[in-house]
Structures are given as C-alpha cells and as structure tokens.
C-alpha cells in the first residue's frame, strides 16, 4: 500500500537544540509539543489528538516520559531504530492514519544525552569480544576505500562542515552559530580518521513534534497542509560482516530512497526535489548520502562539493538549518527536526535560510553501524 498523499502535517514544533542543563526531557517535550499545538491551532488535545507516537534513544521509559509530561492519556506507541528513530516515529504515525486507526496523531522525537555526564557516545564494552561503541569509528570505515577510488579527501569533508556551520547561523534554534573555515576543520583534534572534531555532529538535547492528520481533514487546521508524499524505511546487512560490501556507500540509504521515489512518483530526484535534510552525523555520511540518494552519480560528490551544488544558493540546498552538525543531534529528535524544517521550507516560513519556491522536500536518517535508514518526502501543491 502506498502512503502517498494519505496524511498531512498540520503542526510542527521544535525546541532550541542545546546543552540544556536547566531543563529535563519532560520540559523539552512540553515545549516542542505545545508549539506544535499552537501551530495546528489545537486547543483541546485530549479531544483533538487520537494517539501519540514517540521515540528516544537514551530514555528507557519513553511512553511514560511523554504521557506524563503532556498529561495526555492516549494510546502511545514507542518506536526505536537507532539514529533513524525520529523519522520512524513519523512513519509509524502516518501508517496508523493510512490504516484508518486514527484521524489525528502526535509524533514526538526527543533525547536528553547531556545528563549522562559524557561528551559524545559512551565508550563502553558490551561483551567479551566487542570493541567499544564509537560511532565515528563505524561511519569512518567508508573513508579509506572511497578516498582511494574517487580521489576525494578530508578537504571535501571539511567543506561540508563549513557549509552546515554557515546554515546553522541562519537558524534561530540551532546549537552552533559559528562560521568556521576549512583550516579550522582540518586542524581540529582527530576523533576517528578521517574525522576531526568538526567532522562530527554536535550531540545536544532537544525535542521536536509533528502533528499528522488525515489528508482530507488537513483543511481543519490553519496552516497550508504539507502532504506526506512518501515515508519509507529499510535495513541492510551489518557492514562489518556483509561479505559483499564495498564501503563506497551505505546500502540502507539506497534501498530506502528507491522505495521512497517509487512511492512519491519521483524519477529524477536531483531535478524534482527542491530542498533536502540529510543525516550528517559525520561529514562523510552527508557526502555518501548525496550519491546513495541518487542526487548525483556514485563518485561525483567531489566535483559537486567544489561547485557548491548543495549550498543554500546551489541547485539542491542540503541541511538548510545546519543539520546534525550545527543544529545539533539529540538522537531521537533529529528525524522529527528535519521534518519540522522541511515543513517550514515548504510553507515559506524558513526565514533567512528559505529556499525560494520549494515544493518538494526530502529528509533522511541513517543509524546503527549503519544498518537502518528512513526517508521522508513532503510536498505542497
């Protein structure tokens, strides 16, 4: 069953992403959700919201966090797919509406990693033979083969970081509002080759909320309805044990994108899509995604980075709000935050970072080793 045009986004909300020492996960959930209520002109959520979908990586008690914070005692579904969790929450919500189970639902992605007392992920052993969990190390494994085959290098990665830092300065709720240079990136301390500090997303706290309703009910809300054209998810074999992996791509993205374009009826994504939010947990992840999503051919990223294709003024602006890199990466919130940004872009509400006349917008999450990917395509008539 295609999910195309079955559901519409009628309200969005997002907290300032930051190291939020003075507020709790519940505080942020309330801030994001009440902003979305206001956006959708929902005055009586207990009457107007039928169900809640939520996702978080670091909270062991997601359903309780959300229902207790909102005092919204509705059916609640907790969704988890590593760093793709934020998009998966919205996908579950859209599927429930398409199935006819509910008319209007609330989707919330959030995380509060900064209460753990560590910067970045926890380096802990999970088993006898396991290596410490270092996501930078996992995502870096595509670098040596890609660089060897296509000639790109740390300089190209640095330009992605510079671009996303610039875009972040234009987004009021972003974490890092600081222009950087290629030299800053290249001279930063190394995390996992080829990633230096500036090649890595900024882990922050944050929450984002999306109100989704049946497409035919969208006009009950004041804002221009944003239709869900496609929302898909895919898994791939673990790249560490996949006997065929070439480490020039992440297969999950290729698979999820193929399904999304089929669902949305897109045959030339580079020309048809006007703006995209890609999962830039590390600069190389964004680079590979340009190609894995079929925007450009495999190996062409170097020339497109040089010509500025994906900058705000380019042919296909990517990560208009700064992305995970500079808007911040509260893991479970990121996919929902991307859908918030694309909704603002499609409504023409994105302020200084507005992509003029945007009609079709894509967002992309990838998570795990990486093993799971979710893609969402939104559109306005």
């Amino acid at each position: 069953m295609s999910l195309r045009d079955r559901a519409a986004i009628v309200g969005v909300g997002c907290t300032h992403f930051m190291e939020n020492w003075t507020s709790s996960a519940e505080d942020m959930i309330v801030d994001a959700v009440f902003e979305a209520y206001a956006d959708a002109e929902i005055e009586d959520p207990n009457r107007q919201i039928d169900a809640v979908f939520c996702g978080s990586l670091y909270s062991a008690m997601g359903p309780v966090d959300v229902s207790e914070a909102l005092k919204l005692y509705k059916p609640l579904t907790s969704v988890y797919n590593y760093c793709a969790t934020g998009t998966e929450v919205v996908r579950a919500a859209v599927m429930a509406i398409a199935a006819g189970a509910y008319d209007t639902v609330l989707a919330v992605g959030y995380d509060k990693p900064k209460d753990r007392g560590v910067s970045g992920p926890p380096v802990a052993f999970r088993g006898v033979r396991n290596l410490p969990a270092t996501p930078a190390g996992w995502f870096a494994l595509a670098a040596a083969p890609y660089f060897a085959k296509f000639g790109a290098g740390r300089e190209e990665l640095a330009q992605i970081a510079v671009k996303n830092h610039h875009n972040g300065t234009l987004a009021p709720k972003s974490f890092l509002k600081k222009e950087i240079t290629v030299e800053d990136v290249l001279n930063a301390r190394m995390i996992a080759w080829p990633f230096g500090l500036y090649d890595c997303a900024a882990q922050t706290d944050g929450a984002a909320a999306v109100i989704v309703t049946r497409a035919d009910l969208a006009r009950n809300h004041p804002k221009q309805p944003v239709l869900v054209k496609a929302i898909t998810s895919h898994c791939s074999p673990h790249p560490h044990t996949d006997p065929d992996h070439d480490f020039l791509r992440w297969k999950a993205t290729e698979n999820a994108a193929r399904d999304a374009y089929r669902m949305a009826g897109i045959d030339d994504p580079f020309r048809q899509i006007d703006v995209a939010q890609l999962h830039d947990c590390f600069t190389l992840t964004e680079l590979l995604s340009y190609e894995d999503l079929g925007f450009i051919p495999k190996g062409a990223a170097k020339e497109h980075i040089a010509s500025g294709t994906f900058t705000l003024a380019g042919e296909l602006p990517v990560n208009t709000d700064g992305g995970l890199k500079s808007f911040g990466h509260p893991t479970g919130a990121s996919g929902a935050r991307m859908i918030v940004e694309n909704t603002l872009q499609l409504r023409g509400e994105a302020g200084a970072r507005q992509v003029q006349g945007a009609k079709l917008a894509l967002s992309h999450n990838i998570g795990g080793y990486p093993t799971g990917c979710a893609v969402c395509i939104l559109g306005v008539e």
Partner: protein, 463 residues
C-alpha cells in the same frame, strides 16, 4: 625415548629502553621486552604454542602444562583456557604449575615422565612470565617478558632427556604475596648467593658428568650477567659454555628465562651436544638433554625480530596500568559469564561457520547471509588463516595506552569478514589490502578480569 620434538618462542614486540626508566631520553642502549596492554602470560603462551605447533596435528596432545608465576586468576585454570584457544581435544589433561621460578623445569620433567610412562602421546609445555618490578626499582629495569613452548613426544625427537636432579631449599629471597602486583626481593648479595648460586650449583653437581667428548651447554636462570659469570665458576664451566642471557635486549624473564635460553640452544644444537637446563627458585632443578637429531631453527631470532620501541614513559605507564586512579574501575560492565560460555569457541578459537552453500561466516548465526537457509552450517576455525585489510579507521576515542587505535574489517583468507582491532602496526600505519595474521590478545579488562579475543597484526617480519 621421550624428548623435545619442537619448540616455539614469543617475545613481545614492544621494547622499553632502560634509558626511559632512568628518566633519560630513549637511546639505542639496553632495553627490555614488554608485554603490551593487550598481552599477558596467557596470550604470550598461546603465541609460542601456535609457533611450536605450526603445521602439526594437535589431536595427539594428551597433556598441556602451563608454568607461570603471572596469571590473572587465583582460581580458574590457565591451561584449560589455553587448551580451548588451541582447540585441543577436550580429553586433554591440563594443569597449571605456579608459585616458583623453577616451574618451567618442573613442567618439562612432568611432561617427560607422562610421555615416557605412556600416559600421554605428546605433551605441550608452555612457560611464560611477565616480570613486574615496582616503578623505579632495579627489578623494573632488569625484568623482561617472554613465553616458550616445548612439544614433548616420542617421534621426531631433537633432544632426549638424559638426566634430571632437584634440590629443594627454603628461604625468603624473591617473592610476591597473594595480591601483590610487584616483585619484592631481599638484599641483592644474599639473594644471589643463597637463592640462586648455591642451589643451582647443588642441582648441577648431581648431574652425571659429561659423556666422553660431549660438549655441555648450560641454559640457566641467572638473573644478570654477573650472576651468570659466578655460576660458571661455581659449576666449573667455561664462560663460553653458558648460553648468554639476552639481559640487555629482552631482560630477565622469570620462569621463562632458562627455557628461553634452552630454545636458543636448540636453535643451534649439534649432534652429541648436551644441553643442561638449570633453573632456580625455592631450590633448583636441572634437566640434562642429549641432542640426537638437531633441527637448526631460528625461533628466538624470529621472536627478537619483531620490535616496536615504546615511545614514552607515559605510554609504558598506561599500558601497564601504573597510573594512580582515585576510583577503582567499575567491577561489572555487563560482561556476562553465560554469554562468554555460549560464545567461547568464537572468542577463543575464532570459530565461525560455513553454510552448505559455501558462505563462511563470523560470528555464528542461525540464518545464512548468502542463501537465507537456516541451520545448514559446519563450524570452522579461522584463527590460523591470514587475511587482508578491507577498510580501517584510526580511532582516537577508543581507550588505549597509545591512541589512536587502528580498527578495521579484515577479510579472512577463504573466510568471512571480521571487524577487529589491528595491532602491531609500524609508523606507516594501516593500508588497504595489507596482508595480516591473527593473534590472540587480551582485548579489554571489563568486569575487572581479562577478556581475550583476536586481533589482526601485520604479517610476521621474519629475517
């Protein structure tokens, strides 16, 4: 007649210049071999055993003895662990011999007795030690780490056992109490005279005199050059008859010291030569071998050839865990003994599986990644295969005495891909497609116990 059939030596590649310990810059002067953070007596013994058993069947080994004074557990056998790593038949008899620096000679004699009595077709004797002196002490500077393996059997004997003597003594000369990390020693001249010289000479004196025309070579446990010279005088041997001690390159290796020198003597042995192994510790023990069919080798030279200079005193302290910490490490990091039990063949022998469709896989799973069939697998050990590096990163986030840590995906030859650490790299670092071998290493200490798994190392640099 029972005797030594083969031997193998492991000397850790890391070498610590003594100048660094003395607070000076590293120089080309004396140095000691140092088991790195991912090595201990078990991993060193495994490596020596794999070299000793290279291209040999393992299913005729009926006895495995592990002699060491440095093993991580007071209760839990090292020999059983090593037998599992080596994939020996589960009917193998295993025992640890500890508490004394002459444990190596005792293990060898027990192995000879068992083979001679027909209680074992072949016996594997592994002797290893990591000498840890307290920071700043002479014992820290003079110590060394090494492991030696001997295969004892009837067939293909290079050196027959032709005599043995023992001399038991009680004194407090060198010791570690239960729980002590560092070696303690009484006053040096007392220790040398009564702990080493007198018992060694007593054990040597009881050996039969050299056969007519036979040249007797002595592999002894002398702790330093001067003591070696004193011993030669005490037993009436020519200085040239004493195997030199490797004191300035490897250091004094405790239980493994005399066995290491015996391996060196076997490498260059000649027919009719007599090799005397003389080890002290709470007395002394002497074993006399007659070389019957020499097989020139280079076990010690090969082991010496792997050399990585320790870059700094800080790196040494981190590798050995010598830095003070206010809080003890968390005792349980979710390392489950039941998961360890289920996965021990995978962890200890790098055992994966091959599907009926031909696809090799690691770790073991129920459904084939290639054909999708369920449970059509045959177990297969991959540790003895080499491989190549598919991709890598240098992870600075990863806990290590000398970050960054090379981590990569290894394509095992005719095997699966395995995600693992790459160790022992030279300054040039990793390279796509580089040939690799697999080594058993102490991978981390989560749960405050050693956890062992395999790492990939550059192909052995053999002179």
């Amino acid at each position: 007649m029972a005797g030594i059939v083969d031997w193998g030596v492991h000397i850790p590649a890391h070498r610590l210049p003594r100048a660094l310990l003395a607070g000076r810059k590293a120089d080309s002067g004396p140095e000691r071999a140092l088991a790195w953070a991912d090595e201990d007596s078990v991993t060193m013994a495994v490596d020596a055993a794999r070299l000793c058993l290279k291209d040999r069947a393992r299913d005729t080994i009926d006895l495995l003895l592990f002699a060491t004074t440095t093993y991580a557990f007071a209760e839990k056998q090292g020999a059983a662990l090593i037998a599992a790593v080596l994939g020996l038949p589960q009917a193998v008899r295993t025992a640890d011999i500890g508490h004394s620096l002459r444990g190596g000679a005792q293990a060898l004699l027990l192995a000879h007795d068992a083979v001679k009595a027909g209680r074992a077709r072949q016996a594997l004797v592994l002797i290893a030690d990591c000498r840890m002196g307290a920071p700043g002490s002479e014992l820290e500077r003079s110590g060394g780490d090494a492991a030696v393996a001997f295969l004892i059997g009837h067939d293909g004997v290079v050196a027959e056992l032709s005599g043995s003597t023992a001399h038991s003594e009680e004194l407090v000369d060198v010791w570690r109490r239960d729980g002590d990390r560092f070696i303690h020693q009484w006053e040096d001249r007392f220790t040398t005279q009564y702990g080493f010289l007198d018992p060694s000479a007593a054990a040597a004196a009881k050996l039969p005199t050299a056969a007519d025309g036979a040249h007797r070579v002595w592999a002894t446990s002398a702790p330093n050059k001067r003591a070696l010279g004193s011993l030669a005088k005490a037993i009436g041997a020519a200085p040239t008859a004493m195997v030199p001690g490797l004191f300035d390159t490897v250091g004094y290796c405790g239980t493994a010291q005399a066995p290491l020198l015996l391996a060196a003597a076997l490498d260059t042995a000649e027919t009719g030569q007599e090799l005397a192994l003389l080890t002290h510790g709470d007395g002394a023990e002497a074993l006399l071998y007659t070389v019957v069919a020499p097989r020139p080798g280079h076990a010690v030279a090969d082991a010496m050839a792997q050399r990585i200079p320790v870059p700094s005193l800080n790196a040494y302290r981190r590798a050995r865990g010598l830095d003070a910490a206010e809080y003890p490490p968390v005792d349980d990091q979710g390392i489950s003994a039941t998961i360890h039990f289920r996965e021990r063949a995978e962890d200890l022998r790098l055992q994966g599986q091959r599907c009926a469709c031909g696809e090799p896989q690691f770790p073991k799973q129920r459904v084939c990644i290639r054909c999708g069939a369920k449970d059509r697998f045959t177990p297969e050990d991959f540790a003895e295969r080499g491989g190549t590096l598919v991709t890598y990163t240098l992870d600075s986030f990863f806990p290590s005495p000398t970050p960054p840590t090379a981590v990569g995906v290894v394509q095992v030859a005719d095997g699966p891909r395995i995600y693992m650490q790459v160790a022992g790299l030279s300054k040039e670092g990793p390279a796509l497609g580089m040939p690799l071998r697999l080594a058993f290493r102490r991978i981390h200490d989560a749960g405050q116990r050693p956890n062992y798994f395999w790492k990939a190392l550059p192909e052995r640099n053999v002179p």
